[in-house]
C-alpha cells in the first residue's frame, strides 16, 4: 500500500472522527474539531492527488462495502488532478471555517457539522471511483450532504429554504440523467467497472445517447446553462466556508465526469458531441458573466462568475474534442490542458474570493454591494486579498486566470489550418466569445472591488466593520499565495498536466515547461508571466524613483478636499453604486437580460392627485429561469391539482384502484401468454 492508500485510509479515519466530534463535542468547540478533521481530509486528498500526478498509481477493491457490486477505487493522474484541487480547497476552506465560527457566527448544529466531513470524503471519493456503482453512490452522498450544508441557516432566512428546494430538484434531475446514461452504458458493456466500460463496443447512436445524458447530468452539477439556475441561489445562501467548497471544488466534479466519460471511457466520440459541449459552454460563459456584471449581491456575482468559468472550461473541452475528432492530437492535448489548468486556477481564485466575501458578510452583516464601501480602511487585509482574487478572476496579467486563458486562446487561434468548415466557422466565434467574456469579467470585478471596498462606506454597517480574526486571514493568505504561485510559475505544473492529459486522452499534452516561461509543443508561442510581473514591478518602481528625482524641489504631497467639479462636499450617497456602474452594460445587453422596473405610486386616500409614496424597484432576474422553469413548474402545479381528483377520500375508490389493478394485470397476462 503506497502513499495514496495510506492517505485514503487516513482520510476515512478522519471522516469518522469528524462525525464523532460533531455528535459528541459541545457547541462551542464543535466547529473547531470538525473543521480540523475536514482540513485533515483535505490535506490527505492533496497528498493523494500530488502522488498520483507524480506517477504513482493505486487500486483497491472492497467487495463487502456495498451490496451487489462492491467498491472499486482507482487513482490515475486525471483523478489525481481533481483530487489535488478538491483537497486543497477543502483544507483552506475548512481552516477558514474554523475561524469563521468564532464568536457565534456560522452554523454549529450537530447535523450540519456532521455532514461536513462526510461531504469532504465523498468529494474525494468521486474522482477515485473506478466503477459505475461506486461513482453513483458517492455522487449521491455528496449531493445529500451538500444539501444539508446549504440549508444550514434556513431558520434565519426564508431565501435559504427556496435555494435548498431548487438545489435538491436540479441535483436529482442531474443524478437521474447520470444514472440513466451510465446504467445504459454498463448494461450494454456487460460490466460495472470502468475497465469493462472502456472495452465495450456500442453503436454510435447508443454512445451518443449515453454522452448526451451524461453531459446533462454532469453539466447540471457544473452549472451549465440552462441547468444552472440552482447555482446562484445555493452558492449565495450557503454559509461562506461552504460556498467556497461548493464553488471551488464541487462544480469541478461535473467537469471531471464529462472528461472521464467522454474522453476516457467512450474514447473521444464523434464531432457533434463536442460541438454541443462547445456551444453550451460558450452560452454559459456569456450568460454567466452578463448576469454577474449586473448583480448587486456580491455572492450572487461570484456564483454567476463560477457559471462563466465553468462555461469556459466546457468551451475548452469542446474544442479539445473537436480537434481530436479532426485528427489534431497536439492541439487537442493543448485545449484539454487549458481546461484542466483553468479548473485549478478557478478553484484557487474562487475560493479566495468567496472566503473574502464571507469575511465581509461576517463583519458587516450584508452582501449587498450597494450598502458596502470604504472597507479599504476598516478591513485592509481583506481588501488586498479580494483585490488579488479579483485580478486573477478578471484574467489580467499577471494573474493566474490570464495564463489558462492564454493557453485556451493559443489552442483556438492555431486551429484554423487544421481544417474543416466546422472548425473555420466555430473558432472565430469561440475566440469572440472568450474575448467578450474576458472583457465583461474585467468590468464585473472592477465593479465588485471598486464599489464594494474602495471610497466611502455607504451604510452604517459597512462603516463599523472590523477586520477578520487571524485564522480566517491565514487561510485566505494561503489561497492568495497559491494564486500567486500559479500565476508566476505555471510551467512547474507542466509534467503533472501532461500526465493528467495523457491519462484522459492517451495523447501528449503539448505544454512544455521551460523554466520561467511556458512553451508549447508545435506552436511557436511563449509566455513568461514571471518576467512580465517583474518587468511591470521594476518599471513602476523605477518610475517612482525617477519621479522623486525629477520633482525633488517640489513641496510634499498635500491632503485636500475632493474637488468633484466644485459641487460641494460629496456625501457617501453621491457615490456610484453597483447598479449604476453596470447600467451602461445593462443597456447594451438589454435584449438578453430583460431587466424589469416597477414604479409604485401610492396617493393619499383623500385625493388621487396628491402622492404619498413612490416606490421604485429595478430587478434583473434570471431570464432562463423565467423562460424555461416557471412554465414547467406551473405545469407541474396544474398536474398536482389533479391529485385530489384521484384521491378524493373515498375508501371504496382506493380499494377499487387495487382491485382493478390486479384484475387488469391478470387479464393482460392471460391475453399475452
Amino acid at each position: 500500500m503506497n502513499v495514496i492508500g495510506w492517505a485514503l485510509a487516513g482520510a476515512g479515519v478522519l471522516a469518522g472522527l469528524g462525525v464523532l466530534a460533531a455528535v459528541v463535542a459541545p457547541r462551542r468547540t464543535r466547529p473547531a474539531y470538525v473543521g480540523a478533521a475536514t482540513a485533515g481530509i483535505g490535506v490527505a486528498g492533496l497528498v493523494m492527488g500530488v502522488a498520483a500526478l507524480s506517477g504513482q498509481a493505486f487500486q483497491a477493491r472492497l467487495p463487502g462495502l456495498l451490496p451487489l457490486a462492491g467498491v472499486r477505487i482507482e487513482v490515475d493522474p486525471l483523478g489525481g488532478w481533481f483530487l489535488a484541487v478538491t483537497g486543497g480547497v477543502l483544507a483552506a476552506a475548512a481552516l477558514y471555517g474554523i475561524g469563521y465560527a468564532g464568536g457565534g457566527h456560522g452554523p454549529s448544529g450537530r447535523g450540519v457539522q456532521a455532514a461536513l466531513p462526510v461531504f469532504a470524503i465523498s468529494m474525494l471519493l468521486v474522482p477515485a471511483a473506478a466503477s459505475v456503482s461506486t461513482l453513483l453512490v458517492w455522487w449521491e452522498l455528496m449531493a445529500l450532504t451538500s444539501l444539508l450544508l446549504i440549508l444550514a441557516e434556513h431558520r434565519g432566512r426564508p431565501a435559504v429554504a427556496q435555494a435548498g428546494w431548487w438545489y435538491a430538484a436540479l441535483t436529482q434531475v442531474g443524478f437521474v440523467a447520470i444514472l440513466l446514461g451510465l446504467l445504459l452504458y454498463a448494461a450494454h458493456a456487460g460490466g460495472d467497472s470502468f475497465a469493462d466500460l472502456r472495452a465495450a463496443h456500442l453503436s454510435p447512436a447508443l454512445r451518443g445517447v449515453v454522452f448526451v445524458l451524461v453531459l446533462a447530468g454532469f453539466g447540471a452539477k457544473a452549472g451549465l446553462v440552462p441547468l444552472h439556475v440552482w447555482l446562484p441561489r445555493a452558492h449565495a445562501e450557503a454559509p461562506s466556508p461552504v460556498s467556497a467548497m461548493l464553488s471551488a471544488a464541487m462544480v469541478n466534479l461535473g467537469v471531471y465526469g464529462v472528461v472521464r466519460v467522454g474522453f476516457d471511457l467512450l474514447g473521444g466520440g464523434s464531432r457533434w458531441w463536442w460541438v454541443l459541449v462547445l456551444a453550451f459552454g460558450a452560452i454559459s460563459a456569456l450568460y454567466g458573466i452578463l448576469q454577474a456584471a449586473v448583480a448587486a449581491d456580491v455572492k450572487r456575482l461570484l456564483a454567476y462568475s463560477t457559471v462563466e468559468n465553468m462555461g469556459l472550461v466546457f468551451l475548452s473541452l469542446g474544442a479539445a474534442g473537436i480537434f481530436r475528432a479532426a485528427g489534431a492530437p497536439v492541439l487537442a492535448g493543448l485545449a484539454l490542458a487549458a481546461a484542466l489548468l483553468h479548473v485549478l486556477n478557478h478553484a484557487a481564485f474562487k475560493a479566495l474570493l468567496f472566503t473574502a466575501a464571507g469575511s465581509v458578510l461576517r463583519a458587516t452583516g450584508t452582501r449587498d454591494l450597494d450598502a458596502l464601501g470604504g472597507l479599504r480602511s476598516r478591513m485592509p487585509a481583506t481588501t488586498v486579498l479580494f483585490a488579488i482574487g479579483a485580478l486573477c478572476a478578471a484574467a489580467l496579467p499577471p494573474g493566474n486566470g490570464f495564463v489558462s486563458e492564454w493557453l485556451l486562446l493559443q489552442s483556438l487561434v492555431h486551429a484554423l489550418p487544421a481544417g474543416g468548415v466546422v472548425t473555420a466557422v466555430a473558432m472565430p466565434l469561440a475566440v469572440a466569445v472568450v474575448a467578450l467574456t474576458a472583457g465583461l469579467a474585467v468590468a464585473t470585478f472592477v465593479k465588485a472591488l471598486g464599489v464594494g471596498f474602495f471610497a466611502r462606506a455607504r451604510s452604517e454597517a459597512a462603516g463599523a466593520a472590523q477586520e477578520s480574526p487571524p485564522m480566517m486571514l491565514a487561510a485566505m493568505g494561503v489561497l492568495a499565495a497559491v494564486c500567486a504561485g500559479l500565476a508566476l510559475a505555471p510551467a512547474a505544473l507542466g509534467p503533472a498536466l501532461s500526465r493528467a492529459v495523457t491519462a484522459a486522452t492517451r495523447a501528449p499534452a503539448g505544454v512544455v515547461g521551460g523554466g520561467v516561461s511556458l512553451r508549447l509543443a508545435g506552436i511557436a508561442s511563449t509566455l513568461s508571466p514571471l518576467l512580465i510581473a517583474v518587468a511591470v514591478v521594476v518599471a513602476t518602481a523605477g518610475t517612482a524613483v525617477l519621479l522623486r528625482l525629477a520633482a525633488r524641489r517640489v513641496t510634499r504631497r498635500r491632503s485636500v478636499a475632493l474637488w468633484a467639479c466644485g459641487a460641494g462636499p460629496p456625501t457617501a450617497r453621491m457615490q456610484y453604486t453597483a447598479a449604476s456602474f453596470a447600467q451602461p452594460l445593462q443597456r447594451v445587453f438589454d435584449d438578453v437580460l430583460a431587466p424589469e422596473t416597477d414604479v409604485d405610486v401610492t396617493p393619499y386616500a383623500e385625493s388621487q392627485y396628491l402622492v404619498a409614496r413612490v416606490a421604485y424597484q429595478a430587478r434583473v432576474s434570471d431570464r432562463v429561469e423565467d423562460a424555461l422553469y416557471v412554465p414547467v413548474i406551473a405545469a407541474a402545479r396544474r398536474l398536482g391539482r389533479l391529485g385530489p381528483v384521484l384521491a378524493n377520500g373515498s375508501v371504496h375508490r382506493y380499494l377499487a384502484y387495487g382491485f382493478f389493478g390486479v384484475t387488469g394485470l391478470l387479464l393482460v397476462l392471460a391475453v399475452t401468454r
Binding site: P428, V446, L449, S517, L547, V554, A582
Partner: protein
Amino acid sequence: MNRTASICAAVQVVVVVAGAPLLVGLMRQVRARLEGRAGAGISQPWRDLRKLLRRAPATPTGTGWAFRLAPLLLVGTSLVLAAVVPLLTTASPLNHTADLFAVVGLLALGTVTLALAALDTGTAFGGMGASREMTILALVEPTILVAVLALSARVGSTNLAEIVTTTLNDPLRVASPASLLAAAALLIVVVAETGRLPVDNPATHLELTMIHEAMILEYAGSDLALVELAASMRLTILLGLLTSLFLPWGIAGASLAALPLALAAFGVKVAILGIGLGAAEVFIAKLRLFRVPELLAGSFVLAVLAVASSFFLA
C-alpha cells in the same frame, strides 16, 4: 546578441517616452491649424508636463492606495509595452515573454488601475468615467482578439516579432483583403482604446461627456503629469503597433547600425498616422455613448470578415 537586444529595447523605450508628448502636440497642432487657430506648438505637451512636475501632488481625503498607485502603475505598464512591442527593432530581450495577447492584457491592466482609482475617489464623475470606460473595454475585446486571430493564424504564432518578420518577408500580403479589413478593425480599436473622437473627446471640458477625463479629474501635480504621459505613451505605442503590423518597412533586426533608419521610419510613419487622425477628428463629432456599441460591433464585423477572407480565400 543579448547586449544589442537590450540596447535596442532601451532606445525604443526612450524614444517612446520622449516622442509621445510630441505626437500629441503634433495632433493638437494639426487640429488647431485646420480649425483656423494658431495652435500652441508641437512641444506644448512637454511644457505642460514640466509645469505639472513642479507642482505638489494632491491626495484628496477619503482616497487610498489605489488612487496613489494608479499613475505609477499606468506608466509602468506603458514602459513595459514600449519595450515589448517591436516599434524600432524586432530584437528585444522581452521578445519571448509577452506576445500579442499579453500586450492586450497589459493595456487592459493599465485601464483597470485607472478605473479603480476613479472609483476610489468616491465622486459621481469618477464612477461615471470608470463605468463607461469598462463598458467600452468589454466591447472592444472581441474585435481585438479576432483581429489577432486573423493576423497570427497565417504566421503560426502570436509572437509580435514573428508576425512583423513574416510581413517583412512577404510584402504583398499587406494588400490582401484580410489584412486591409484587419487594419480597419484595429484602427477603430485604437481610437476606442485611446479615447479619441468619435468615441471620446480628449479636449472636452463638459464633465457629462467625458470618459477618460472623468477618471482623472481629481489628479493634480506630478500625479497628473504621469497620467498624461502614460496616455500619450499608450497612443504612441498603439499607433506604432498598427504601423509595425501593417507597414513594417524600416524596422531593424538585431543590428545597432540599422537603428537610425528605423527611428526615422518609425517617426515618419507614426507622424503621418497622427496627422491623419488629427485631421479626421476635425470633421467627426463625438458619438453618443449608446451609439458606441454600434461602432464597435461594426469593427467586430470587419475583424470577422478579415478572418473569413483569410481562410476561405486562401
